[in-house]
Symmetry: C2
Subunit: 281 residues, 2 copies
């Protein structure tokens, strides 16, 4: 069936969005639509231009016989700032304060729109990195890990504090919880992560950094590499964290000292866009 | 900025895909692209046609002043069958067998493509239902819940076996685990589910149905309604399940008796497409 340009553009957009970070050969689209490669090439130029104009992402072109197009989603600084502003306001609601200075945010981290925008911000930082897997520890980091994994089109792996029968053989590490100095354990199914994978670690909240350090150790036990560590939010921590400030990215910084929630931006602006600022301006 | 049709079609496709089950007024697109409503109307006709031709979903048109377009994603029976066939083969790998007749499938339930297709199949069954939230119990059901929630554009809520400080106040139920007859507990944060919500329950695996029955009780404790219960897979269960056969949908049926994995299709074909078959043929 030969397709018209309008139908091709719609289906291509859908296909590229569902298959980000994947090299799609020109011939794939040419066969899919029964069209000449030259027409497909023109289509892709229009898609590329629109994705750029609308801040959707980069449509990279790899020339040559083994070439094709690769959609790399990102979020522009302005859209990220607007989103962060919205969520900052939502987090600043004093009714979120829980005993012990904790903050209720499960409602936010379960909404598809919010998870997608968080994913886009974190994915933007790793635009040019090879990432093979996203890793988190059960349970609150899972939705964030899944959202990023979707945009990077890689699997996500879930470490646990207790191993389950359904994990099969596991590898475990012990780590010192940063906030209460207890020895904790973390396990990951042996077959969930191939050797030499490049791993992005994510979690919902950074306190003392014990979990993040534990996850990093676990990555090393699998002979894999940590590409980065990203958090939805970080708290205020008095003492030395188990991971250093240059190692992680946080979107929000939440202070609940003196029994009042006060939310500001984390270091994401510099971590995600600082490099671009230095390079492009 | 006035947009050309080709750019409008690309951006519209992206916008509709990111905002499924949402009524988008004609005026929203007209303003976004600086175009006449009549042009937008023509664009939407092309999008609707392509979405249908490619089996992407339904673009519903609601006429009148308060009207607009609503994208309802689905998966056609043929594409679902092909996907189910692929995964059946992957599950039938004997190296997945774990002690006690359990089966390793975490690698499959962590890949974006697989989770999206599972979500599309389950979402297709509830095309015409009002669903306000997707609910699961931590942790293995979470990725499936998130995938469906994405397509239905509703929040997902996560019950737990142990409550955490960050849940705030919780409501709990006790239930009898179907498979080992132990009394278990399940808790859900009080503010995570508004009264009278219509809830779709999902989980990765159905054995005795204890968890699903517990989740149903929890839904009722919140004065909400259970719209349906869906599983990635069901096992073979000798005895009476806590939920009846007409209450649930399963995509796969996995038999590990006699220490061998044997995978067949669950009841999804009839549950998801039976209604359409009766109606349309």
């Amino acid at each position: 069936m030969k397709s018209k340009r309008s139908a091709r553009l719609i289906d291509m957009t859908r296909y590229l969005m569902e298959n980000p970070h994947t090299l799609v050969p020109l011939t794939f689209f040419a066969e899919r639509y029964g069209s000449a490669k030259s027409s497909i090439s023109e289509d892709l130029t229009i898609v590329r231009q629109t994705f750029r104009d609308r801040g959707i992402g980069l449509l990279e072109t790899i020339p040559g016989a083994a070439g094709g197009s690769k959609f790399i989603p990102y979020i522009l600084k302005e859209e990220a700032e607007q989103f962060v502003g919205e969520i900052k306001q939502a987090l600043n609601d004093q009714s979120r304060l829980l005993p012990g200075g904790y903050i209720y945010m499960a409602d936010l981290l379960s909404r598809p729109y919010i998870l997608r925008q968080i994913g886009r911000i974190i994915a933007t930082q790793y635009l040019n990195h090879d990432i093979d897997a996203v890793m988190t520890v059960a349970t609150k980091g899972i939705p964030i890990a899944q959202s990023i994994a979707n945009l990077l089109n890689v699997p996500f792996v879930i470490a646990r504090h207790d191993s389950r029968i359904t994990d099969g053989s596991t590898i475990s590490v012990n780590y010192v919880s940063g906030s209460n100095r207890r020895i904790e354990k973390m396990v990951l199914s042996k077959r969930s992560l191939p050797e030499e994978s490049n791993v992005l670690i994510v979690d919902d909240f950074l306190r003392g950094g014990g979990s993040a350090a534990g996850l990093s150790d676990l990555v090393k036990e699998f002979n894999c590499n940590v590409v980065g560590i990203s958090f939805f939010a970080e708290g205020v921590y008095n003492g030395e964290r188990k991971i250093s400030a240059d190692q992680y990215t946080s979107i929000f910084k939440i202070n609940t000292e003196s029994d009042k929630i006060s939310v500001s931006e984390g270091n994401y602006d510099n971590k995600v866009y600082g490099y671009l600022d230095n390079k492009e301006n």
